[in-house]
Structures are given as structure tokens and as C-alpha cells.
Amino acid sequence: MNDAEALNYGMALAGLIFAIGLTGVLMRRNLIFILLSMEIMLNATGFAFIVAGAKWASADGQVMFILILAVAAAEVAIGLALLLRFHGMHKTLDTGRAAQMKG
């Protein structure tokens, strides 16, 4: 397996994971699963960075991955806080039930 093939497979895998995550965000109603799906999407992008870094033998990709981890951690913290508030207000985690801003 040469470098170009490795990049292609890696990118395809990243795209696949990203699509799975996106599908989860779109399909799921439960807020916890939406947050989980978003973590998957973040990890997909992180994986794409790692693959690209390996291809060009650069540390930048790994640096970006660590940054994404940090962002993901922060996002989970805020997301969970919002989730608690959400549950407190609506007594449910179903996002469809909270469609109050209907134009």
C-alpha cells in the first residue's frame, strides 16, 4: 500500500465516520445521542488530520488533533450543561418537543 492509497482509504474512512455522525445528528431525537454523534463527527475530522499529517510527514496534523480533542472536551462540558437545563425546562430530551421557535 503506497502513500496515495493510504491517504485515499484514510480519507474515505474519515468521510464515512463523518457521515455516520451526521446521520446520527439528523436522525436522532434524543439530545444525548445528538451530542454523541457530534463527538463522532469531531473524531472523524481528527482522523482526517492524522491521515493527512502522516501523508506529508508533518506534525501539524497531530497538533490539530490535540486541539480538536480539547475543543471536543469543552463542547461536551457545555453540551451537558445545556442538556441539563433543557431537561429542567422541558422534562424530556426530545428535541422535537422543543420546537418553539417556529416561524
Binding site: A99, M101, G103
Partner: protein, 630 residues
């Protein structure tokens, strides 16, 4: 002393500002004092300046006072500058003094009116703008004054704005004169475009160098200036506003008709006479317009019932004489007639105002009568005014000025026998209608109780105007009768005299006899028609031809009807057709499109967060696809 020139227009403006800002809280006496006092101050300043100007004339008989730069853009930098020469001296003196006398009278006439302060404020503004007009050094400033008096006439004609008729009259005056104003504005553009200056003297000096005599540009410029003058001076075919302008208070009529607005056109043409000299066709048009106007208005005045309408038609007719004089190149005679006319027409209007007030706002002369015994003072002053208007020989101002016009119309190369005869017929008509008022109003039987005039202000004003109506003529007496030429000598630096085509004392004597026959014959005719055979005359109007003629003249030769059919009704019809406003359809289509798009986009705002996420993802796909494949 000439430096105080700027005070002359400044005083009335000051009075206006004071009355408008603080007027509501002042007692009536103080308002009258400010309103009339500022114009009096202006008149005194004008007199001092005039005396100084005559005693030691400045170089070239011209004094320019440059106050400040109005604006400065590129080559275009008109100044606010006042220009004093013999012509403007005459105009300023007449405007301020006659204006003051009318305001003095108004302190009596308008007493007790709700809008007392407002009235004086407008009148002051009127006088101020008129002074700007006659003192302007450049066309732009002149135009400011020109529009200013138009505005003030609108405000004053519609002074009693609670009645719809008055408001209509005010609007009519504003709109009809606006037609002329538009012509004047275009004329000024043309002058600036071709001569590259708006300074009146420079433009007048350059025009003959730039333009050939009778060339298109010269004719166009003169014709457009004439258009402006026709509107303001109520000449054919824009005369219809003036009879309706009688809706305003009587002193307003006196001020508009005697001293200020209607003579603005005469002043404009006299001031710009160089433009007319190089456009002979237009100058002939001026004379012909004047001749027609004086006949149309004179004959219409014969049958009016409203005393102020008679005087209004009389004004149109007399201004027609001034135009006739301008048209034949008798510039000084025209300004001379302007001056005497200002005196006697103001006098007549103020007398009419007293009669109207004494009879509790009665305007119809046939409901008056016998006023000679009830109001003797008004009778005598009105008699002198009428005599002056009818040009009773040797003793009245109107005689010297009108006969000067008629004589010069005959003898000047630009004039001729046909114009002269038109003037003579007009003179005959003038005598009939002016003495018709006198005989009907002051003779006959008194029907009503009257309220006597008990006002020193009004009587002083009338007395002063009476004296001026008589002595005003003696400053210019033709050669065979005494040869006084103070007036024409004074104006000679500005208004050149033409050399007559016909000369000789014999001519003058023939002329004098004919003219006196016309003037006195008219009075005699009025005496027969309205005193001796009054019943027969009244029955004359009941027959079919008499009735048709009467109605034709009563409506002022049907000009209002013509304009109504030709302009007003088609315009109203078009506006009615366009009630939905077709031009708005385009904008309404835009509005509809926006609304439709909004309605569609609104449906995407579901509040459902997963839809939003889907939209973001879809947008990202589209965007990336866009970047990758295009």
C-alpha cells in the same frame, strides 16, 4: 451714507422675524408698531440713501454693496450684493413709502382680526422680498426676491384660510405665477449657460456682444424673461389669478397691486431692457401683449360687480400700459407710470377697503350707493384716485404718466398708430369703469347704515397717497406744457431714451386733444350711462345679445373657462384614469415578489434543530461541490 443701503431690506425682515417668533405674546399696539415701524424705518433709510444718491451721485450713478458670498463652487460664485442705480432708487422709494402707508392704514383696517400679528409679519416679509428683488445685483438674488413675493402673495391671498374659496384663490395665484416663474428660471439657465455670468450688469453688457440681433438665443432669452414677467405682472395670458387674488385682505390687494408684486415684471423688463433691444420680435410681442391686455382687462372691468374685482382688472389694464411702454422702448415712461399707478391704485384700494369695512364686508357695488354723504372723506379721496386713474388732464399724476406712454407709443419707431389707438380705447374704457364705481357707489340712494372711519392712521395714509397721486406727476411734464424732465433725466443713465420717429409740437397738440377727449369723454359717458340713464343700461344686459356680452366680459373674456377646458379638466381626467397609479405597479411588483419569497423562506423556520442541522449539512455539500467541480 450709501453704506446703509443694506438696512433698507434688513428692517422689514427684522420685523417679520420678530413678529413670527415673539408676535403671539405681544399686545396688538406693539405688533402694529413693529409691523409698520420697521417698514417706516426702511422708508426713512431709503430716503436718506436716495437723497445722498441724488445729491452726490457715485461714479457712473451706480453703487454696489457686496454683503457676502452666497456660494462658491468653481466659476459659479454669486454674491449677495445690492445694486443701487437710479432705477432701483425709484423702485425702493415707491415700495417702501407706499408699503409703509398701506401698513399704517392696516393698523386700522386689520384691528381686531385674529391674525393681526401674522398679517403684519407677512406684509413685512413681502416688502422685504420686494426690496431684495429690486436691489438684487445678480439674477439669482433677484430670483430669490421674485419667489419670495410669490410666496408672500400666496400667504396673504389665503390669509383668511378658513374659507375654502380663499385658499383656492391663493393656490391659483401661486400656480399660475409659477408657470411664469418656470419660464424665468429657464431663461436664467440660458443666460448663465451662454454668457457665463448671473450678474445682471455683466450679462446685459455681454449679451449684445455674444448674440446677434434677432438670433435664436437672444429671442429665446428675452421671451423667457417675458414669460416670467407675464406671470408676475398678470398679463395675457397669465392674468387670471389677479381678479381671484381679491380674496385676501384689502391692504394686501393694495400692496400686491400697487407697490409690489405686479410691477415686478415691469421692473424685470426695464432692468433687462438690453436683452429686449437685441430681440426686436420679442419686444414687439411685449407691446402687443400690453395692448391686448389693457383692452381685455379694461372691457372686463366695465361689467364687474365686486368693487375689488373692478380695481383688479383695472390694475391688469394699467400694467398693460406699462408693458405697452416697455414694448415700444419708452422705458422711463413705463417706470413713471409704475410710480404714479402705485400711488393712485393704492389709494383706490384703501378707499374701497374703507367702504367695504363701513358696510360690513359688502363687496357688491350695487348694494352700495349714496356713500358721498355717509363717507365724504372717502368720497373725495376716491374721486382724486379715480381722476388720476382716468388721467384727468393737468391736475393728476396719472395724466402725465399715461399720456407720456401714449404719446411715445405714437411717436416712437417701435410703436405705431395701431398700438396708439388701442391705448386710446383703453384710456376711454378706463375713464368709464373708474367713474362707474364712483357714480354707483357714492351717488344714488343710501341703503345701509355705515360705520364711520375714526382712525387717524387711515386718514393720514389716505391723505398722503392723495397728495402723491396729484403731485407725483409733476416731476415729468412734456415739453410744450412746461418741460420738466426730472424723472427721465434721473433715469437716463439706466434707461436710454429712444429718438422719436415723428416730431413736432403740432403732433403733440393733436395728440393732447385726442387724449383729453378720450379721458374726459369716458367720464362723460360714465355720467350718462350710470347716472342719467342707469335704468336703461341695466335693462340692456337682460336682452340676449346684451346678456351674452355681459357674461363674456364678466368672466374676463372667458379665460378661466378656456383654461378649465383645455388644461384643468384633461389633467383631472388623466389623474382620475391614473387613480391606481400605473407607475406604482412596478414597485408593487417588487413588494409582491419580496412577500412571496418571505412566505416560502418562512416555512423553513420550523424550530426543529435537526432540520437546521440538515440545512447546514446540505449547504456545506452544495458549497463544497461548487468549489470542487466548478
Amino acid at each position: 451714507m450709501l453704506e446703509m443701503l443694506w438696512l433698507i431690506p434688513a428692517f422689514p425682515f427684522l420685523g417679520f422675524a420678530f413678529l413670527i417668533l415673539a408676535g403671539a405674546r405681544l399686545p396688538q399696539r406693539l405688533k402694529a408698531l413693529i409691523g409698520a415701524g420697521t417698514v417706516a424705518a426702511s422708508a426713512v433709510a431709503a430716503t436718506i440713501v436716495a437723497v445722498r444718491f441724488i445729491a452726490s451721485p457715485p461714479e457712473g450713478s451706480v453703487y454696489v454693496e457686496r454683503l457676502w458670498n452666497w456660494m462658491h463652487t468653481g466659476n459659479f460664485n454669486p454674491a449677495v450684493a445690492l445694486y443701487l442705480d437710479p432705477l432701483s432708487v425709484v423702485m425702493v422709494l415707491v415700495v417702501t413709502w407706499v408699503g409703509f402707508l398701506i401698513l399704517l392704514y392696516s393698523t386700522y383696517f386689520m384691528a381686531g382680526d385674529d391674525g393681526f400679528g401674522r398679517f403684519f409679519a407677512y406684509m413685512d416679509l413681502f416688502v422685504g422680498f420686494m426690496l431684495i428683488l429690486v436691489l438684487a445685483d445678480n439674477f439669482l438674488l433677484l430670483y430669490l426676491g421674485w419667489e419670495g413675493v410669490g410666496l408672500c402673495s400666496y400667504l396673504l391671498i389665503g390669509f383668511w384660510y378658513k374659507e375654502e374659496e380663499n385658499v383656492r384663490a391663493a393656490l391659483k395665484a401661486f400656480i399660475v405665477t409659477r408657470i411664469g416663474d418656470a419660464a424665468l428660471a429657464v431663461g436664467l439657465f440660458l443666460i448663465y449657460y451662454n454668457l457665463d455670468t448671473l450678474n445682471i450688469q455683466e450679462a446685459a453688457a455681454h449679451a449684445p456682444e455674444e448674440w446677434l440681433i434677432g438670433s435664436l438665443a437672444a429671442n429665446a432669452a428675452a421671451a423667457l424673461l417675458l414669460g416670467g414677467a407675464l406671470g408676475k405682472s398678470a398679463q395675457l395670458p397669465l392674468q387670471t389669478w389677479l381678479p381671484d387674488a381679491m380674496a385676501g385682505p384689502t391692504p394686501t390687494s393694495a400692496l400686491i397691486h400697487a407697490a409690489t408684486m405686479v410691477t415686478a415684471g415691469v421692473y424685470l423688463i426695464a432692468r433687462c431692457h438690453t436683452f429686449f433691444v437685441i430681440a426686436p420680435a420679442v419686444q414687439t410681442a411685449v407691446a402687443i401683449t400690453g395692448a391686448f391686455t389693457l383692452l381685455v382687462a379694461g372691457s372686463s372691468a366695465l361689467v364687474q360687480r365686486d368693487i375689488k374685482r373692478i380695481l383688479a382688472y383695472s390694475t391688469i389694464s394699467q400694467v398693460g400700459y406699462m408693458f405697452l411702454a416697455l414694448g415700444v422702448g419708452a422705458w422711463a415712461a413705463s417706470v413713471f407710470h409704475f410710480m404714479t399707478h402705485a400711488f393712485f391704485k393704492a389709494l383706490l384700494f384703501l378707499c374701497a377697503g374703507l367702504v367695504i369695512k363701513a358696510l360690513d364686508n359688502e363687496h357688491d357695488i350695487f348694494n352700495m350707493g349714496g356713500m358721498k354723504r355717509k363717507l365724504p372723506f372717502v368720497f373725495w379721496t376716491f374721486l382724486i384716485g379715480s381722476a388720476s386713474l382716468s388721467a384727468v388732464p393737468f391736475v393728476t399724476g396719472g395724466f402725465f404718466s399715461k399720456d407720456l406712454i401714449l404719446f411715445q407709443t405714437w411717436i416712437y419707431p417701435l410703436g405705431g398708430l395701431h398700438l396708439f389707438i388701442a391705448g386710446l380705447i383703453g384710456s376711454f374704457l378706463t375713464s368709464i369703469y373708474s367713474f362707474r364705481i364712483l357714480f354707483i357707489v357714492f351717488y344714488g340712494e343710501a341703503g345701509q347704515e355705515v360705520e364711520r372711519v375714526k382712525s387717524r392712521a387711515a386718514t393720514t395714509s389716505l391723505t398722503a397717497l392723495t397728495i402723491l397721486s396729484i403731485v407725483g406727476g409733476y416731476i415729468e411734464i412734456p415739453r410744450p406744457l412746461g418741460n420738466v424732465t426730472i424723472f427721465s433725466d434721473f433715469l437716463k443713465p439706466v434707461l436710454p431714451e429712444a429718438s422719436p420717429a415723428i416730431t413736432g409740437t403740432g403732433t403733440f397738440i393733436i395728440f393732447l386733444v385726442v387724449s383729453i377727449i378720450c379721458s374726459l369723454g369716458g367720464i362723460y359717458a360714465a355720467y350718462i350711462l350710470f347716472i342719467i340713464k342707469r335704468n336703461q343700461v341695466e335693462s340692456l344686459a337682460t336682452g340676449v345679445p346684451g346678456n351674452v356680452l355681459h357674461r363674456f366680459l364678466f368672466t374676463g373674456w372667458g379665460f378661466d373657462l378656456i383654461y378649465d377646458v383645455l388644461i384643468v379638466r384633461p389633467f383631472v381626467y388623466l389623474t382620475r384614469l391614473n387613480r391606481g397609479d400605473i407607475f406604482d405597479l412596478f414597485y408593487r411588483a417588487i413588494e409582491f415578489f419580496c412577500g412571496a419569497v418571505y412566505g416560502f423562506v418562512r416555512t423553513t423556520q420550523t424550530g426543529n434543530v435537526r432540520w437546521y442541522a440538515a440545512a447546514v449539512a446540505f449547504g456545506a455539500v452544495v458549497f463544497i461541490g461548487f468549489v470542487m467541480f466548478l
